[in-house]
């Protein structure tokens, strides 16, 4: 009787642990199409080719966003910091802007610099309107102009309604998981990254 009392919770614990280490599903293959983009230094890069056999942590932003996109970007910074502290290599960070009118390479560079971001394994990307539209469709991110503010001189500052997302892409360019960018649990994605880097 005593043995049974101990065995059952133990089995339950093992079962739960096995669920915790569940395999990350293959959600989409991003290799079906390549997108020519510009990074923050105006260098032409191709997505997802730029991941070059690394695990990719990809966020979707616009720099005029004061609230959600800075949260997403800061979460990516915290992920990068945690990986560095744990000496986990083979991960690249990419932030792609869907505001092609405003977010030119220099604007993306300013966005990163004012936040003191470490760009050694992190690129900020922009591109032609049509290219970005197609890319957003492929990755499942919706973004369209919502409200705007008009300055005294008639200029407009507009704000996107958009999907709040960070994606995890494996070494082969396969999408493995979607997270809520502004509310991502750092421990969760770190565990997922470890699973993919150990594969």
């Amino acid at each position: 009787m005593k043995n049974k009392t101990v065995t059952f919770p133990l089995l339950l614990l093992l079962l739960l642990l096995s669920f915790c280490k569940a395999e990350l599903e293959e959600l989409d293959d991003f290799n079906s199409k390549y997108y020519s983009l510009l990074n923050q230094d105006s260098t032409v890069v191709e997505f997802p080719t730029l991941l070059e056999g690394n695990v990719g942590v990809v966020g979707y932003i616009f720099t005029n966003c004061p609230d959600i996109c800075p949260l997403t970007t800061n979460n990516m910074r915290l992920i990068q910091k945690q990986l560095s502290e744990e000496n986990i290599k083979g991960v690249k960070f990419v932030s792609i802007s869907f505001d092609t009118d405003t977010d030119k390479p220099s604007v993306l560079k300013d966005f990163a610099e004012v936040r003191n971001l470490d760009l050694t394994n992190w690129e900020f990307l922009t591109g032609k309107e049509q290219t970005i539209k197609e890319l957003m469709k492929q990755v499942g991110v919706v973004a369209f102009v919502g409200d705007s503010t008009v300055f005294d001189d008639g200029r407009k500052s507009y704000y996107f309604v958009h999907t709040d997302r960070i994606q995890l892409i494996d070494k082969n360019g396969i999408l493995r998981k979607n997270y809520i960018g502004s509310k991502i649990k750092i421990e969760e994605i770190i565990a997922d990254i470890k699973t993919l880097t150990e594969d």
Binding site: T63, N64, C65, P66, D67, I68, P70, L71, N74, R77, V107, D110, F111, E113, V114, R115, N116, V142, G146, D147, T149, F151, D152, S157, Y159, F160, V161, H162, T163, D164, R165, I180, S182, K183
Partner: protein
């Protein structure tokens, strides 16, 4: 003799006018001081952003008074425009942002401006707002009057 009387009158007028001015300033100070007691603003911070881009400021308002108060206007010299904004949920996983006209803080209650919710939007920054910089934002309340707060720039809430 007439000149002396005229001189005394002019001096007296100057003294009276200056003391009236002093009294007005005193009243002003006492209103400000009262305002600070009625409305408290704490944990103020804002996100870093580059020149011409936008930042958001967050804080907690505590209304210690016995009446509701309304925050109806915000102002800062940090940006070309300053507005009250709210991030809101659209459909599944989609977020948008819109301006709000005012915010009511009920008596003896707190109101949180926090990431993903209400914020003061600093639109079109005059200069870069790097980490560890700071600035001032003036909040205008219907009952308590104006309150200028100091806001630190950092990457996330403490």
């Amino acid at each position: 003799m007439k000149k002396t009387i005229l001189y005394i009158l002019v001096v007296a007028n100057v003294i009276i006018i200056s003391s009236c001015q002093y009294e007005t300033d005193e009243n002003k100070n006492s209103i400000t001081s009262k305002t600070n007691k009625q409305i408290e603003v704490s944990n103020a911070w804002m996100t870093p952003a580059a020149k011409n881009r936008n930042s958001a400021a967050y804080f907690t308002i505590t209304n210690n008074s016995n009446v509701s108060d309304t925050l109806f206007e915000v102002f800062s010299t940090l940006s070309q425009l300053t507005e009250l904004h709210e991030t809101y949920k659209r459909t599944e996983g989609m977020l948008g942002m819109r301006s709000v006209d005012y915010i009511v803080v009920p008596s003896k209650e707190k109101f949180e401006f926090s990431p993903g919710g209400f914020h003061v939007m600093l639109i079109g920054l005059i200069k870069n707002l790097p980490i560890e910089s700071s600035g001032e934002i003036t909040l205008k309340f219907k009952v308590a009057g104006s309150l200028t707060i100091s806001v630190d720039c950092r990457l996330s809430q403490k």
